[in-house]
Structure formats: C-alpha cells, structure tokens
C-alpha cells in the first residue's frame, strides 16, 4: 500500500518538476514555476518518508540526524539566499551548485564504505558509485574554484596558463580511472575509492582554474549540468527513480543552457574548456594596438546632447553593476522620460556576468521590463537613435566583431551602437575589456568618452540635467 502511495507521490513530483522547468523558461510563469518545483521537492521528500514509515520505520537516531542536517543546511541556505547582493549572483549559484555535488559525493562515499547497509553491492552499484563520486567531486571543487575566481579571491597561477596544465589534468584523469578500476576489481579495499576521490577533486580544480573570468558563467552552467548527472548517478546508487529522472532533466537542461550561452558569446564549448583565457590565447591575433584618436567630453556636453534628443538607448554592462549605479541610472532615465524623451535599454545576451544577469540588476532598480530590449530587436533601431549611452560595456559594442575578420571577436553578435547619431561611452579609463581587445568604437567620430566611475558620472549628469530645467514639474 505504501509503495503505491509513494509511486503516486513520485509521479506527481516528477510531473511538477517538469512543469517547473518548463515554466521557468517564460517570464510570466517563471516565479510560479519555481515555487511549483519547490513544492515538488517537498512532495518527493514526503513520499520517501511515508514509504519508509510504512515499511521499515525510521529510528529515533535517524530522525535526530535528519533534523540536525535539515536545520543546519536549511537555515544556512535561507540566510545565504536572503543576504547575497544581486551582483554576486553567479558566485552564489556556483556555491549552491558545489554543495549539491558534495551531497552526491558523500552519499556515494557512504554507499562505497558500507555497501551492505545500502544494498549497493555488485558491478552496477560500483559503477554508479564511481560516476557519482567522480562527477560529484569535480562539481564540488570546480564550483568552489569558480566562485573564488569570480569573487576575486583566487587568480590563475602562471603555469596553469601554459600547456603543462593539460599534462597535469590528463594525469589526474588517468589516476581517477585507475582508482575506479581498482574499486571494480577489489570491492573490499578502499584504496581505489580514496584515490578516485582525491584525483577527481583535484581534476575539478585543474580544469576550472585556467578558465578566464569572462567564460566563468559557461563553466558554472556546465557544472550545474554535472551536478544533475551526479544526482542521477546517486539515484542509481540508492535505487531511486525519481532521483534519476530529476537528475537527468537537470543534466540535459543544463547542457542546453550551456550551449545557448556559448552561442551568445560566439565561443565553442571546447574552446571555453580547453582554450584557457580568451586574452591569453588571442593576444597576438590582431585587433590590439594603441588608441590614437579619442574624443573625450564633459558631463555638461553630454547633458546638452541628451536634452536635445528624441530617442536615447542605454547600453548597460557589468561595470554599471559593479559601480552599483543602476539606481542612479534609473533616476537619469526618469528625468529624460519626464520631458518626453523615448528611452530604451539594449541588453546584449551576455551583458553582466551571466546571461540575464543584467536584466535582474535592472529589475532590481525598478526599470520597467518593457524597456529592456534584446539585441536582435534593437539593432535595426540604432540608425533612428539620437544618443546611445554606453555604461561599463565594452566588447559587446565593438564594431570589430562585424568588420574585422582578423579580430578575435569576429563573428560575435554585437550591438550596432555606432549607427546612432551620437555615442557616449562612460568608462573608468582606457583599459581594455574582458577580452583585452581594442575597441574601434572609441575612435569613431561620433563617439565621445566620458571618463569616470559610472555612478559618479551619472550623478553629475543628473545634476546637470536638472540644472537645464529637466525633471521639474
């Protein structure tokens, strides 16, 4: 009776999870879909508990440990979720993801050490354990490294940029394989298990560490997919179909999402994973050089031009978010809108640190969702635009990507801001973007540079615009 009940609950849970993932891909339904997935997860846990209560029962000791784990993990998770600033979202996802990988790793470890208790004997179980340990460990260490790099706690050591890293990583992969074979050959010894744990953990570090900051979101997305695979493998270990389905869904969906992100950046997954940092491999590939013909202007001039405009497009980049200037930006656009100027935001697919990250940051500053326009939508409109304000974005507005076949950026979809009548670029200095590539846009005749911190420039701009009599009713 209880397994029938559990089957029914599991079926509902799978259905809700699928609907949840589906709903998450549409703006209107996304929030409800996320809650649906959370309910599904609760149901799944409930179904499992009911099943064991009806069959073997759950001991007091088990309850104690369940409650202890739940309290610690749940409370810490809830606090972290509430506290993190929106700008550090990529790091946060990496951290959560790593913990999911760790969980699969620990369960597989438990099954390997005590196969009798968890009915995990035989070659099938051992292979599942191997996969779960291997993928779980890579997910954990890889995610933690990704988080540390995004936080700036960790930088890539020089030897990691050289070819030597491939040899090291191959050696680690071979060591993992040796450990796995040893586990299959000799079920009683735990030597193979520990070799696998250590080697795959180090492999996760070795693979992630050389990857450049700009590519990190792709890596996080891929690691997210891995954690699904690890969960599915853990499902094989403990014999839970629900776990297999959910893990497989996340694994597959994560893979697709990774592919979509790679397309947006015009990078192949292979070059992200094995190419190292973009700047390091392509520095000699042309497109470099000094800037010769830069026009800079004052905030006052910018304000005057803006006042005379009819249509203004804002191009926000990560620099804006770092400066926490999105709220000031919203004030500026409010003033412009108050005198009837048409304002839109052009969002490049990879604006921010992660696709969609910029949308989150602007939504936080109360920018109306309808004003955010995607690249394909807004590109034909630039010729009819009077002023473009580029804030902390660089590579995504580089015309080289369209015009210069020798440029490493060539082929990457970019925003055609140079088609607008006037372009203002707010930038802290003449440093290159993430890719380390010179931006031809800055030398064009219709481009003016406004040097300074985005927040300060926007604040000054706000004052100037108000001095011009804008925004006063």
């Amino acid at each position: 009776m209880t397994d029938l009940l559990q089957y029914a609950i599991e079926l509902v849970a799978v259905l809700l999870l699928a609907l949840g993932i589906k709903g998450l891909s549409k703006v209107r339904s996304a929030r409800g879909a996320n809650q649906l997935a959370a309910v599904a997860m609760g149901l799944a846990v409930l179904g499992l508990l009911i099943n064991y209560l009806g069959t073997s029962g759950i001991s007091i000791a088990a309850w104690t440990w369940i409650i202890a784990g739940t309290l610690v993990g749940g409370v810490l998770g809830a606090i972290t979720a509430q506290r993190v600033p929106m700008t550090s979202m990529p790091e946060t996802v990496a951290l959560f993801n790593g913990c999911g990988g760790m969980s699969s790793l620990l369960v597989a470890l438990a099954a390997a050490l005590y196969p009798a208790a968890l009915d995990a004997a035989g070659p099938v179980a051992v292979v599942s354990i191997v996969v779960s340990v291997f993928v779980g460990a890579i997910t954990f260490t890889g995610s933690i490294v990704a988080m540390a790099k995004l936080q700036g706690w960790l930088s890539t050591p020089a030897w990691m940029q050289s070819k030597a890293r491939h040899a090291v990583n191959i050696a680690l992969a071979v060591a993992s394989l040796v450990g796995a074979v040893e586990m299959l050959r000799n079920a009683d010894s735990s030597t193979g298990l520990w070799l696998l744990v250590v080697a795959s953990g180090l492999l996760g570090i070795g693979v992630t560490l050389p990857i450049g900051g700009a590519d990190m979101p792709v890596v996080i997305s891929l690691l997210n997919s891995y954690s699904g695979v690890a969960a599915a493998a853990a499902g094989f270990v403990v014999g839970s179909q629900l776990l297999i389905v959910a893990g497989a869904m996340v694994g597959a969906a994560g893979l697709i999402l990774t592919q979509v992100m790679c397309n947006g950046m015009n990078r192949s997954l292979v070059s992200v994973l094995f190419g190292g940092a973009l700047g390091a491999t392509t520095a000699a590939g042309g497109g470099g050089g000094e800037y010769t013909n830069i026009t800079s202007c004052s905030v006052e001039e910018c304000a005057l031009t803006l006042e005379a405009a009819e249509r203004v497009v804002i191009v926000p980049g990560y620099g804006l978010a770092v400066a926490q200037a999105q709220h000031t930006l919203r004030e500026v656009t409010r003033v412009l809108e108050s005198v009837g100027i048409d304002v839109a935001y052009a969002i490049h697919p990879v604006a921010g640190r992660m696709p969609g990250h910029m949308n989150v940051l602007l939504a936080e500053a109360d920018v109306p969702y309808e004003q955010l326009q995607e690249m394909d939508q807004i590109n034909p409109e630039f010729p009819a635009t009077d002023v473009v304000l580029v804030l902390g974005a660089n590579d995504v507005v580089n015309p080289q990507a369209k015009n210069d076949p020798n440029s490493p950026l060539y082929g990457m979809p970019v925003l055609d801001v140079q088609d607008a009548r006037t372009v203002f670029v707010v930038k802290r200095g003449m440093s290159a973007g993430y890719s380390g590539i010179k931006n031809d846009l800055f030398e064009l005749a219709n481009t003016s540079m406004l040097f300074g911190d985005a927040k300060k420039v926007l604040g000054d701009l706000l004052v100037e615009l108000k001095d011009l009599g804008l925004g006063k009713k």
Binding site: L17, G20, I21, L24, S25, K26, A30, R31, N34, A37, A38, M41, A44, V45, L48, A62, W65, I66, A68, G73, G74, L76, G77, A81, M89, T92, F96, C99, G100, M102, S103, V107, A110, A117, N224, S227, A230, A231, G235, V237, V238, G239, Q241, L243, V245, A246, G247, A248, M249, V250, G251, A253, G254, I256, P349, M354, V360, A363, Y369, E370
Partner: protein, 98 residues
Amino acid sequence: MFVEFLWVLLLGSLLGLELIGKVPPTLHTPLMSGANAISGITVLAALTAIIKAGENTVLLLLGSVSLGFALFNVIGGFLVTDRMLAMFSRKPARKETR
C-alpha cells in the same frame, strides 16, 4: 531493475532537452539557479542513507552532512531564484491590472 533505471535515465534526459527549447536571455540566470536548486534532489539519497544506517554512526554522520549540503542547495537555490523572479514580476503585474 537496472534496465528499467536506464530507461528512466534516457527518458528523463530527453525530457530535459525538450523542456528548454527557447529561453529568453532574460531568464538564463534564474533558470540556471532554479535548475540548480532541483539538482539538490540528492536530499532523497541522503535521507535514504540515514534511514538505512541503523546503528552505524559513521553512516549516519555521512548521511546527515550530505543532507545538510543538499538542503543548503535546495533551500538556498529556490529562495534566491524566487528573489530574482520577484523583481521581474513586480512591474508587469502592475501593468496587467490596468
């Protein structure tokens, strides 16, 4: 049993591929974060380990720590996704009421 599980794996993967067809870039970050929360479904494996542990303290401890990690992922993941999505729904919701 094993073959059955392989079928489940195959169908689950196909479902996952099918579900994420066209995602607007706006939602990539929340989607990644939401999918990430779902991968914390290893809570089930951790719970199973604890319940089947009997008197084995090491197993209980491993299971409990695993449960903690998984729940950190699940609770944190769902809450942070909700926080992000709440910002999106704020404005359009107001628009729809007019």
